[in-house]
């Protein structure tokens, strides 16, 4: 088991190298220049060239690549060109809202989705199943930014129960921050929940066909107990896989949700860095997001072992 984890962690290195090099190539392929953006449309060519020289952006690309690689292997992601601060500091500021949002939305997705999915499956074909699945399909199909905007219009602009935009840190502001999180988390969590509910329902229906379920029922076990004791664990395996994948995506920042609700997270940071051609930020952020995804997948693999004793990696 430990060997498995170590092997997976070592696999991070080639992934980082490939992702890093690809991103380095891509960001330098897009036309545009960070200094022109930084100095604004009125800057003259002379000013732009001078600052490009000082920031070593006029160096040949291969030597920029070598310099970047040499820095990155030591864990130094460099400085933001536009903000002139270490990339890690800039990213660290943006990580908290993104993680808070991702965790909360995933929790909402699982806590709503799994019970609804299993309930629907156990009542398959009945009206409750139909209603739950209509809601779930709506959750998947309605774009969450639209849901977010409707939420703002109803709960912020009309009813004034919740703030329309902004973000407070739950760690420093405590309960006051919850009001800011309700709408974005629900908007994002609702679509997650719809997805999870559909998946849990389908898997549950499949699991309920299994022989061991029939055996359990034949023993005279109550169907509720059959569901919880025998079916649930087996339902959870595909659910954990899918939730893990989407959690990894959310860690890269929910760009649209962050924009609609004015949340200063990773998504907006990456978008802004691309618009400003702030190469070190784009490279650093995408590298970290790739690492997160690998790590989340590792955690998912480990969770399998907890859920299903038949799986082992030794």
């Amino acid at each position: 088991m430990t060997a498995f984890i170590i092997r997976r962690l070592i696999a991070l290195i080639p992934v980082a190298l490939v992702v890093g090099t690809t991103v380095f190539g891509l960001v330098h392929l897009i036309p545009g220049d960070p200094v022109s953006v930084m100095l604004g449309p009125g800057a003259s060519s002379a000013e732009i060239d001078e600052l490009r020289d000082q920031l070593r952006l006029n160096d040949p690309l291969p030597s920029q690549y070598v310099a970047w690689l040499a820095r990155t292997v030591t864990g130094d992601l460099g400085d933001s060109i536009v903000q002139q601060r270490p990339v890690l500091t800039v990213i660290a500021e943006r990580l908290e809202p993104t993680i808070v949002l991702a965790v909360a939305a995933t929790l909402v997705g699982v806590l709503l989705g799994v019970p609804f999915g299993i309930t629907a499956a156990s009542l398959a074909g009945r009206p409750i199943d139909r209603v739950l699945m209509i809601v779930a399909v709506a959750g998947i199909s309605i774009p969450y930014f639209w849901l977010g905007l409707m939420g703002i219009i109803v709960f912020a602009v009309e009813l004034r129960w919740l703030p329309a935009t902004g973000y407070l840190s739950p760690f420093s502001e405590g309960w006051a921050s919850l009001r800011y999180l309700v709408l974005p988390v629900l908007a994002l969590g609702f679509s997650q929940a719809g997805f999870v509910a559909r998946l849990s329902r389908a898997t549950t229906l499949q699991v309920l066909q299994e022989n061991y379920i029939r055996t359990a029922r034949a023993k005279g076990m109550r169907s509720r107990r059959v569901l919880v004791r025998h079916a649930l664990r087996n339902v959870m395996i595909p659910v954990v896989t899918v939730v893990g994948l989407s959690f990894g995506v959310l860690l890269g920042g929910a760009i649209v949700t962050e924009t609609v609700f004015g949340i200063p997270g990773m998504g907006r940071l990456i978008l802004q860095a691309i618009q400003q051609r702030d190469y070190p930020i784009i490279q650093g952020a995408l590298l970290l997001v790739a690492m997160f995804n690998v790590l989340v997948n590792l955690v998912v693999d480990l969770v399998y072992v907890l859920i299903d004793p038949r799986i082992s990696y030794s």
């Binding site: 220049d33 022109s36 800057a43 600052l51 609609v260």
Partner: protein, 531 residues
């Protein structure tokens, strides 16, 4: 009257003029107070935090370097220069008390106030002014344009600095020192000297009524009252004069999406929002809780490549200009006639420099004439390579309308829709484009108009233009300079290095609790109070 006295009185006139309407207003106020017992509610009150939605992240707060509007939004209340502007965009003293020009106008002596305190508690002296303006002269476009003619810049004593010139450019210098576009902000000498050559200032220490308390990148900038601020002993004038910091703090929330700024303002999360979406104008106007402001923002312009490609042919440039219909283009761009103005004058009507001289070719809407010119020029049918973007309001919309008109005139048009960063870098290579879009805000002096700069990517390099710009740059009476400016503007409309499309106004909104906001091109929070 010597030249010196002439200048002194000119300043005084500029200071005094606005007093008259203000006095009249205070008389009316006094009457209202007498008549209505509730009038006391009108009094300005101190305290409170103003929550403002701003449109982009001010990641670069270098006053000497940045040309970005958002930098000026943050720094407008934080840093100050030796001079500021009255409501007609003419210079008035700010950290300076005034200046004297020598008879030959080759020496300008500027005297400084002695009561000015920086945010770090130090008192401003001529050493700070020399350090700051030396950096500004080296880094900013207006500074670089002036510095070849500046032979000396030094401190005479603690509260006097002196410029000497190789030719009389003093008037240009004073205008440039009054503008906030790449602001000649005065910062402490120790702060400036500690900067590396390539370093970009992130958190300037200024002398303004508000100081930067904290910056959370991508989220918010918090300004707090500068308690030791020494205001000028006069009423507010335009963007300067006496400044009062009524508010305890101003928090600027980075909110890139216009619809979000609007909903935040309507929901009461913000007291003030910059850059509201123009399509929401009817809704905002109908909202009794909101006050709207439409300050002049700038012009929308199209640069033509007269140095390389098809538009080296004057007839094709004339054809291009003849085909355009500015009314339709501006309506497509801004949606409501109250948000734009059709005007071919290169300097806006808000300023003393405005003139309509030579603007006949503006807004001809003459597709027929354009077609004739296209035929005369023997146009070979190769498409106009036009760079535009959806990022800036109005660029794409005007490009689409213009392409239709140009196609009717016989041109082929190839719209290259990219992001703004791509335009900014690609336009530097004259061989890859024929047309790109841009815009200008008010600049200190017509000599500094970017289109006249041969190195600026319209690449207008022309001897007659250079002669007129140099003539215009000579320090003499305003009326004489104005006559040359009329000639220069007419030459622009003959040569067509670029085409002005129109002026546009910003749409800002605030809750009715916000009072005293001066709706001017420069955004600032002094003199603003909350009920």
């Amino acid at each position: 009257m010597t030249d010196d006295q002439h200048h002194a009185t000119q300043f005084e006139r500029e200071i005094r003029m606005p007093h008259t309407p203000l006095r009249r207003m205070s008389l009316i106020l006094a009457f209202t107070l007498l008549l209505a017992p509730l009038g006391a509610a009108l009094a300005q009150s101190s305290g409170g935090t103003l929550r403002v939605a701003i449109n982009s992240d001010p990641s670069n707060l270098d006053p000497h370097r940045s040309t970005a509007f958002i930098t000026r939004v943050v720094l407008g209340s934080v840093v100050e220069g030796l001079f500021n502007l009255d409501e007609n965009y003419q210079p008035i003293p700010e950290l300076a008390t005034g200046f004297e020009a020598s008879d030959d106008r080759l020496t300008y002596t500027i005297s400084l106030r002695d009561d000015v305190v920086f945010h770090d508690g130090s008192v401003m002296t001529s050493a700070d002014v020399v350090a700051s303006l030396t950096r500004w002269l080296a880094l900013s476009t207006p500074g670089r344009n002036l510095s070849p003619d500046i032979t000396g810049f030094e401190a005479i004593d603690d509260h006097t600095v002196q410029f000497t010139f190789s030719r009389p450019i003093g008037a240009l210098l004073i205008s440039a020192l009054a503008f906030s576009y790449q602001a000649p902000a005065i910062l402490p000498a120790a702060f400036v000297e500690a900067l590396d050559e390539a370093e970009v200032i992130r958190q300037p220490i200024g002398t303004g009524p508000y100081k930067i308390a904290s910056i959370q990148s991508g989220n918010q900038v918090r300004l707090e009252r500068h308690d030791d601020y020494a205001a000028r002993d006069e009423d507010p004038i335009g963007m300067g004069g006496g400044k009062t910091a009524y508010l305890d703090a101003v928090v600027l929330f980075v909110t890139p999406e216009a619809a979000v700024r609007a909903s935040g303002l309507e929901a009461g999360d913000f007291d003030f929002a910059l850059g509201l979406p123009s399509d929401g104008l009817p809704r905002f106007s109908a909202n009794p809780n909101l006050t709207l402001y439409t300050p002049y923002q700038g012009s929308l312009d199209i640069a033509l490549n007269s140095s390389e490609g098809m538009f080296t042919d004057l007839r094709l440039r004339q054809a291009f200009v003849a085909a355009l219909d500015m009314d339709t283009m501006m309506l497509a761009a801004f949606g409501d006639p109250s948000l734009y103005r059709i005007d071919g004058g290169l300097w806006p009507q808000e300023t003393a420099w405005w003139t309509d001289a030579g603007t006949d070719p503006y807004n001809q809407k003459d597709v027929e004439r354009a077609r004739q010119l296209v035929e005369e020029a023997g146009y070979d049918g190769s498409p106009i390579r036009w760079m535009t973007t959806r990022e800036n309001q109005g660029y794409y919309e005007t490009a689409v309308v213009a392409s239709q008109l140009l196609q009717q005139a016989g041109f082929m048009v190839e719209l290259e829709v990219v992001d703004f960063a791509t335009i900014l870098s690609r336009r530097r290579d004259a061989s890859v484009w024929d047309v790109f879009q841009t815009g200008f805000s008010i600049q200190p002096d017509p000599t500094q108009y970017l289109v006249f700069d041969c190195n600026w990517p319209a690449f207008w390099c022309d001897a007659e233009k250079d002669r007129l710009v140099e003539e215009l740059g000579v320090d003499r009476d305003f009326d004489e300079r104005y006559a040359i400016w009329e000639e220069l503007q007419s030459y622009y409309w003959e040569f067509h290095p670029a085409v002005k499309v129109g002026d546009y106004f910003n749409l800002y909104g605030s809750s009715n609790r916000v009072n005293g906001y001066a709706s001017l091109n420069q955004v600032f929070w002094y003199n603003v109070w909350l009920d």
